[in-house]
C-alpha cells in the first residue's frame, strides 16, 4: 500500500518535473524572441490547471496516507499554485498574460518561479524514490 502511494506520487512528480522543464523552455524561448508573447502565454496557460491538479493530488494523497512531513512540505507550494490561479484579475487571459508578461519584470519572476518549482519537484522525486526503496 505504502509503495503504491509513493509509486503514484513518483509518477505524478515525474509529470510535474517535465511540466516545469516545459515551462522553463517556453519562457526562455520568449526571452530569446523565438516565439511571441501571445503564443507563449496561450501555451503555458493550458498547463496551469494540470499542474495545479497534479500537485494537489500528491498533496492530498500524502494527507490521506498520513505522511505529515511530506504533506507539510508540499502544502506551501500547493497553496501558492491555487492562490496564483484564483488571484488572476478578471481582465487577464490567465496566469500568464501576454500584455503583461514583458512588464515589470514579470517574465523574470515567472522564470524564477518555474526554476524553484523544478528544484522542489526534483527534491520530492528523490524523496518518493527513497521512500519506495525503504519500504
Amino acid at each position: 500500500m505504502e509503495a503504491m502511494v509513493f509509486l503514484l506520487s513518483l509518477i505524478d512528480c515525474c509529470a510535474l518535473i517535465f511540466l516545469s522543464v516545459y515551462f522553463i523552455i517556453t519562457l526562455s524561448d520568449l526571452e530569446c524572441d523565438y516565439i511571441n508573447a501571445r503564443s507563449c502565454c496561450s501555451k503555458l496557460n493550458k498547463w496551469v490547471i494540470p499542474e495545479l491538479v497534479g500537485h494537489t493530488i500528491v498533496t492530498v494523497l500524502m494527507l490521506v496516507s498520513l505522511h505529515w512531513f511530506i504533506f507539510l512540505l508540499n502544502l506551501p507550494v500547493a497553496t501558492w499554485n491555487i492562490y496564483r490561479f484564483i488571484m488572476v484579475p478578471s481582465g487577464n487571459m490567465g496566469v500568464f498574460d501576454p500584455t503583461e508578461i514583458h512588464n515589470r519584470g514579470q517574465l523574470k519572476s515567472h522564470m524564477k518561479e518555474a526554476m524553484i518549482k523544478l528544484g522542489f519537484y526534483l527534491l520530492c522525486f528523490f524523496m518518493y524514490l527513497y521512500s519506495i526503496l525503504n519500504d
Binding site: 484579475p89 478578471s90 481582465g91 501576454p98 500584455t99 514583458h102
Partner: protein, 1062 residues
C-alpha cells in the same frame, strides 16, 4: 563645369525644383537669387582638397558657428528669435573668417561668383521653392486648423533647411521627388553637378538621366577644377543670404517657438566657421590636405569639457528651500534640462520633444540609481509631426551587425572604413556606398553623411523590411445606431465631418473605406461600384457573426466616392425611428475584425452605451456612492474579451480607435482594452447630446477633423534599443509588446506618446556616454515603407549629486504618472497615490541625506527638482488620481488612458495648466514674428490668490482653453475683447472671441492663436463667468489651493518636509 557630361541627371531634378519655384515662389527677390545660385554653382563643382584654406566640410564638429550652435534644438524662444534677426546681428563671424569673400548684404549676387566660389553647390539658399506639401498634409484646407505646425516654419528658414525640407515634403504627385535622395536647392537647371546615381534608386524621370555619373564620381570631384579656389563656409554664406529672406518672407517662422523641431538641422551646420572654439579666424590656419578624420570624438576628452560646463550654470547648482521660496514656477514654460554633454554632441542630440529621459545624467550603477530614488525611463513621441525631417533613400541602410542599431551621430569612426556601434560596441565596416556623401558630394566622408549628422532621420525602407507588400490605407467605421445613439444625434456630426474630410483622409488611390452599423444586429453596407445607392445587409445572427458578402463591403474610396457620400448623407436619417435599445458591440467588432483582417487598417468605433448583447456584453459596475473613495473601484476590465480581440486585431495589423459618447456608465475599463492593446486611441465625450451639450458637439467635430486628417502609419513596429548595460523592463502606452523590446503598433498616429522604464543591469563604469535609439518602421498612407529613427545620447555620472542635477522634473512626473496608473490598476488607487507622494519624499530624503552636507532646516531640494512637489501634487489632483470629488468612473479611466497615451507636453499641460492674465496684455516682452506681435504674459501660479475679480484669466489646459472673466472686469476688456456691453451679457456658453478692430482684441486673439498653433489639435476656448458650469472645472485646476479632501501646496510641502526630516 569639370563634369560637363554628367549634368543630366541633376538637371532633371533641378528642373523640377525650378519649375516649382517659378510657379510657386512668392519671393520678390527670387530671380536674383537664382542667378546667384547658378553662378556659385558654376564656380565650384568639385572642391580642392589640396589648397589650404577653410575646409568647412572637413572641419571637426568642434568648430562651431555660434549661430548654428544657438539655433540647434531650439524649442527655446531665444534661438528662434535669433533666427529672425537681421543677418548682421545674428552672424557676425563669417566675414572675418573668410577674409571677406562672404558678403553680409542680403543680395550678394554681384560679388559672390567672383570672390567666393562655392563648394559643390548643393547648399543653395533661397532658390528653393517652398514646397508646402508634406506628403501627409498635402490638402489645401487643413492648413490653419488641423495641423498647426507642419507648415509653419517650413518656408525658408535657411538654405540648409531648404535642403532638408526638400527631402521631407515630398510632393505626392511626383514620384521622383519622393525617391531621390537629397535634392539641392538650386532652381536653375543644368548648373549643378549631378548626384551620383547610386543614391537615387528612383532616379528622377527628368531629362536624360543617361548622363548620370557613376558612383565613383565622388572620387573625381576631389581633384580641383582649375578655376576653383577654396570655398568658404557655405553655412555662413547661407546664413547671410537666407536670413533676410526669413525675416521678410516667412511671417510665421517663429511660430514654431517652443514647439518645433530645430530650425537648422545640426547635421548641416558643422561646416560653420571655427571661431567658436577660439581658433583665429584665418583661413590659413587650417591644415590642408584631405584631413584624414574629423569626426567628433565622443568620450573622455569631452567629459572634462562637459564637467566644466556645469559651472556655467550656477542657477542649476543652487539648492532651493521650497518652504522659503514658494514661487518657483517660472513665468515662461518649463524647459527640459540640457544634458551635460559637450556642445558638439549635444547639438546633434535628439530633440527633447521627441525623446527624453527622466535623468539626463545616467547613474553608473543600479545601486546609485536606487540611492537616488528617482525613476529611470524614457518618454517618447516618435511620430510627432515634424517641421523638417531628413529622409534618406539608400539601397543599404547601415546598421550594426550584431545589435541591429542604425548608424547614428553618436557612433565613433575608428577610421574611414570602420565604425564602432555605440550600443553594443561592435566594430562594423562602412559599406562602400556609405563612403560617398551625397550632401557634400565628396567621397570618403562617411561621418558627414546625413545619417551621422541627424539624431532624427527617416529612411525609406527597401523590401527587406516588408513581410508583405505595403498595405493600402483601410478605414472602417463602426457606428452604433441603437435608440440611445440616435437620441444623442452624434451620427449627424460624424457623418458630416466624414463628408467634409473625405478627400483629406490620408491615403492614395488605393484607399479603402467601409461602414458597419449595429444595434442588436449588425448591418453591412455594400458600396459596389455601379450600384445606384448603397445596399444594406443585415446579419442578425450575432452569436456567430459572419461577413454577408466577400467583397464590396470595403471599397476603393476613389471609385465609389459617390456611393460613400450617398451613404453618409442618408445614414443619419435611416435610423431615426429605431426602437432598438440593445447594443451588440462585441459581435460588431468581431465582424469588423473579420472584414479587415486580410489587409489591416484602422477601425473607428463609435459607441454610446454599455454593450448588452452577444459576446463582450458588460454589466454596470459603478456604484455612485463609492465614487469619491479611493477603494473598491473597478479599474480593471471585467472580461478578457476585448483584450483578446485587441490582440487578434494587433496580429492582423488592425487598430481600433474608440469614440465613447455616453451619458451613463459604459465600463470604459473593459472597452478601453480594445484600443489599448491594438495601438488605437480612446476619445470620450461624456453626456454627448446634439442639443443639450453643444460644447461636446464642437469638441467632437474638432477632434474628428484632426483625427481624420492627421498623418497615419500602418502596420508599424517600434523597437527601442539602449546601450549595453541598460535594459528596458516596463512599457507604457497603447501597443502590444510582442517580444522583449518590440512594440507592435498596427497604427501609429502623431498624437501618441510612449514611455518606458529602465534599469541599469550592468555597471556602466567603463563608459561615459550611453545612447538610446527608437526605430519606428511603418507604412505611410502613400504605401511607402519608412523607418523613423531617433537617437538620444546622455552622459553617465558616478555621483548622486550629478544624478540629481540632471533630473528632468517634467519627464519624471510624466513617468511617475504612467507608473501610478499601472499601480492603480494592479493594486489600488490609494496605493498609487501613496506611491506618488513617496516618490517625492524618498528622492528628497535621499538628496538630503546623501548630497547635502549640512543639515539645514526647511525643505531643501536641488534646483532641478524644485517643481517636483508641485507637479506631484498636481498629479494627485488630476482626474485620474483625485479623491473626494464625484468623478465618474469612466471619466477617471479616460483620464488614465490619456496619461498613458499622451505625449509628455500635453500630459504636463493637462496636469499643471498654464494660467495667464489676459485683460491687460501689453506688447512688452512680446514675441515679434515678422508682422505679428504675440504678447507673452507671464505664467501665474495656479492659485486663486492670483485671480482677481477685476481681471480676466486664461487657463491653458492642453486640450481646452478657459477664459475666466472676473465680475468686476474692466469695461474696456468686455467691450474691446469680448464684444459685449456688460458682464451680465456674456453668453452662458461662449466659445469664440469676436474679431474686433481694437488693439486689445488683436493682442488677445494673437496670443490665443499662438497657443493653439503650438499643438496639433484645436483646443476649444470657453469663456467662463461666475455662474458658468465650467467654473468648477476651472477652479479644480487651481492645484495650489486647498480643497475639501486635498492639501494645498504649502501644506503638501510641510507634509513632505516632515517626512523627509524624520
Amino acid at each position: 563645369m569639370s563634369q560637363p557630361g554628367s549634368r543630366g541627371a541633376t538637371a532633371g531634378l533641378q528642373a523640377q525644383n525650378g519649375a516649382a519655384a517659378a510657379s510657386g515662389s512668392p519671393y520678390s527677390n527670387g530671380p536674383v537669387q537664382n542667378a546667384l545660385m547658378s553662378s556659385q554653382v558654376s564656380a565650384g563643382q568639385g572642391y580642392d582638397s589640396q589648397l589650404p584654406g577653410s575646409y568647412p566640410h572637413l572641419m571637426p564638429a568642434k568648430s562651431l558657428n555660434p549661430f548654428s550652435g544657438q539655433s540647434n534644438y531650439g524649442g527655446s524662444q531665444g534661438s528662434a528669435q535669433t533666427l529672425n534677426r537681421p543677418p548682421v546681428a545674428s552672424n557676425p563671424v563669417p566675414p572675418s573668417l573668410h577674409s571677406g569673400p562672404v558678403p553680409q548684404t542680403p543680395l550678394p549676387a554681384s560679388q559672390n561668383p567672383a570672390a567666393t566660389p562655392m563648394p559643390s553647390g548643393s547648399f543653395l539658399p533661397g532658390a528653393n521653392p517652398p514646397l508646402p506639401l508634406n506628403w501627409q498634409y498635402n490638402y489645401p484646407a487643413t492648413g490653419s486648423q488641423t495641423n498647426h505646425f507642419p507648415h509653419v516654419a517650413q518656408p525658408a528658414v535657411s538654405g540648409t533647411t531648404n535642403l532638408t525640407r526638400n527631402q521631407q515634403y515630398v510632393s505626392p504627385g511626383d514620384p521622383s521627388l519622393q525617391t531621390s535622395f537629397i535634392k539641392s536647392g538650386s532652381a536653375l537647371p543644368l548648373q549643378n553637378p549631378p548626384l551620383p546615381t547610386s543614391f537615387q534608386p528612383g532616379a528622377p524621370p527628368g531629362p536624360s538621366p543617361a548622363g548620370g555619373p557613376p558612383p565613383v564620381r565622388g572620387l573625381m570631384s576631389q581633384k580641383p577644377p582649375p578655376r576653383v579656389v577654396p570655398p568658404p563656409s557655405f553655412n555662413s554664406s547661407i546664413n547671410q543670404e537666407a536670413t533676410p529672406q526669413l525675416t521678410n518672407q516667412n511671417p510665421k517662422t517663429s511660430r514654431s517657438v517652443g514647439y518645433a523641431y530645430p530650425s537648422l538641422p545640426p547635421g548641416y551646420q558643422n561646416t560653420a566657421p571655427p571661431s567658436a572654439t577660439g581658433m583665429p579666424p584665418s583661413s590659413l590656419n587650417y591644415p590642408s590636405g584631405p584631413q584624414a578624420f574629423t569626426q567628433t570624438p565622443l568620450g573622455a576628452n569631452h567629459l572634462n569639457a562637459s564637467m566644466s560646463g556645469l559651472s556655467l550654470h550656477p542657477e542649476g547648482l543652487r539648492v532651493v528651500n521650497l518652504l522659503q521660496e514658494r514661487n518657483m514656477l517660472p513665468s515662461t514654460p518649463v524647459q527640459p534640462p540640457v544634458p551635460n554633454l559637450h556642445e558638439d554632441i549635444q547639438k546633434l542630440n535628439c530633440n527633447p520633444e521627441l525623446f527624453r529621459c527622466t535623468l539626463t545624467s545616467i547613474p553608473q550603477t543600479q545601486a546609485l540609481l536606487n540611492k537616488a530614488k528617482l525613476p529611470l525611463g524614457l518618454l517618447l513621441h516618435p511620430f510627432k509631426d515634424l517641421v523638417q525631417l531628413p529622409v534618406v533613400t539608400s539601397s543599404t541602410i547601415v546598421r550594426c551587425r550584431s545589435c541591429r542599431t542604425y548608424i547614428n551621430p553618436f557612433v565613433s569612426f575608428l577610421d574611414q572604413r570602420r565604425w564602432k556601434c555605440n550600443l553594443c560596441y561592435r566594430v562594423n565596416d562602412v559599406p562602400e556606398e556609405f563612403m560617398y556623401n551625397p550632401l557634400t558630394r565628396v567621397y570618403g566622408e562617411p561621418h558627414r553623411r546625413p545619417e551621422v549628422q541627424n539624431a532624427t532621420i527617416e529612411f525609406m525602407a527597401p523590401s527587406e523590411y516588408m513581410l508583405r507588400p505595403p498595405q493600402p490605407p483601410v478605414y472602417l467605421f463602426v457606428l452604433d445606431v441603437s435608440h440611445n445613439a440616435v437620441e444623442t444625434g452624434y451620427l449627424n456630426s460624424v457623418c458630416q465631418s466624414l463628408l467634409d474630410n473625405l478627400d483629406l483622409l490620408p491615403g492614395n488611390t488605393r484607399t479603402k473605406i467601409g461602414f458597419i452599423t449595429f444595434d442588436s444586429t449588425v448591418h453591412f453596407y455594400s458600396l459596389q461600384e455601379g450600384l445606384s445607392q448603397p445596399q444594406m445587409l443585415i446579419v442578425s445572427d450575432i452569436e456567430d457573426v459572419f461577413i454577408p458578402m466577400p467583397e464590396n463591403l470595403l471599397v476603393n474610396l476613389n471609385e465609389s466616392k459617390e456611393l460613400v457620400q450617398d451613404l453618409l448623407k442618408t445614414l443619419p436619417q435611416m435610423f431615426t425611428k429605431t426602437l432598438e435599445t440593445q447594443s451588440a458591440l462585441g459581435p460588431a467588432l468581431q465582424a469588423a475584425f473579420k472584414l479587415m483582417s486580410p489587409t489591416g487598417g484602422r477601425m473607428s468605433v463609435f459607441q454610446t452605451q454599455l454593450p448588452t448583447l452577444g459576446v463582450g456584453a458588460l454589466k454596470p459596475r459603478e456604484e455612485p456612492n463609492q465614487r469619491s473613495s479611493a477603494k473598491e473601484i473597478h479599474l480593471t476590465p471585467s472580461t478578457d474579451f476585448y483584450k483578446k480581440l485587441a490582440l487578434d486585431c494587433s496580429g492582423q495589423q488592425v487598430a481600433v480607435d474608440l469614440f465613447l459618447l455616453s451619458g451613463q456608465y459604459s465600463d470604459l475599463a473593459s472597452l478601453g482594452c480594445i484600443s489599448r492593446y491594438s495601438a488605437g486611441s480612446v476619445y470620450y465625450y461624456p453626456s454627448y447630446h446634439h442639443q443639450h451639450n453643444p460644447v461636446q458637439v464642437q469638441k467632437l467635430q474638432k477632434e474628428l477633423q484632426r483625427y481624420l486628417t492627421r498623418k497615419i502609419g500602418f502596420e508599424a513596429v517600434m523597437r527601442i534599443r539602449c546601450t549595453k548595460g541598460l535594459s528596458i523592463h516596463t512599457f507604457h502606452g497603447n501597443f502590444f509588446v510582442r517580444s522583449t523590446d518590440l512594440l507592435s503598433l498596427p497604427n501609429v498616429n502623431p498624437d501618441a506618446g510612449y514611455a518606458v522604464q529602465m534599469s541599469v543591469e550592468e555597471s556602466l563604469t567603463d563608459t561615459q556616454l550611453v545612447s538610446f535609439q527608437s526605430a519606428l518602421l511603418y507604412t505611410s498612407s502613400k504605401g511607402e515603407r519608412r523607418i523613423r529613427v531617433h537617437t538620444l545620447c546622455l552622459p553617465v555620472v558616478s555621483t548622486l549629486n550629478e544624478v540629481f542635477l540632471g533630473a528632468d522634473v517634467q519627464a519624471i512626473s510624466g513617468l511617475l504618472a504612467n507608473m501610478a496608473v499601472d499601480r492603480s490598476v494592479t493594486a489600488s488607487l490609494s496605493d498609487a497615490r501613496d506611491a506618488l507622494v513617496n516618490a517625492v519624499i524618498d528622492s528628497l530624503s535621499a538628496y538630503r541625506s546623501s548630497v547635502l552636507s549640512s543639515q539645514q532646516p526647511g525643505l531643501m531640494v536641488p534646483f532641478s527638482l524644485r517643481l517636483f512637489p508641485l507637479f506631484v501634487l498636481a498629479l494627485l489632483k488630476q482626474k485620474s488620481f483625485q479623491t473626494g470629488t464625484n468623478a465618474r468612473l469612466d471619466e477617471r479611466i479616460f483620464a488614465m488612458c490619456q496619461v498613458k497615451n499622451q505625449p509628455l507636453v500635453h500630459l504636463m499641460l493637462t496636469t499643471h495648466p498654464s494660467l495667464y492674465r489676459v485683460d491687460s496684455l501689453s506688447d512688452e516682452g512680446a514675441l515679434n514674428i515678422s508682422d505679428r506681435t504675440i504678447p507673452q504674459p507671464p505664467i501665474l501660479q495656479l492659485s486663486v490668490e492670483k485671480l482677481s475679480r477685476d481681471g480676466a484669466f486664461l487657463m491653458d489646459a492642453g486640450s481646452v482653453l478657459m477664459l475666466w472673466v472676473g465680475k468686476n472686469c474692466a469695461q474696456n476688456f468686455l467691450s474691446q475683447v469680448l464684444g459685449v456691453q456688460n458682464y451680465a451679457s456674456i453668453p452662458q456658453t461662449m466659445t469664440d472671441l469676436p474679431e474686433l478692430d481694437t488693439p486689445e482684441s488683436a493682442r488677445t486673439i494673437a496670443f490665443i492663436t499662438w497657443l493653439r498653433e503650438q499643438r496639433p489639435f484645436f483646443p476649444i476656448l470657453y469663456v467662463i463667468r461666475d455662474e458658468s458650469p465650467m467654473k468648477a472645472a476651472f477652479l479644480q485646476n487651481m492645484v495650489e489651493d486647498r480643497t475639501e479632501s486635498a492639501l494645498s501646496y504649502y501644506e503638501f510641502l510641510l507634509h513632505i518636509q516632515q517626512q523627509v526630516n524624520k
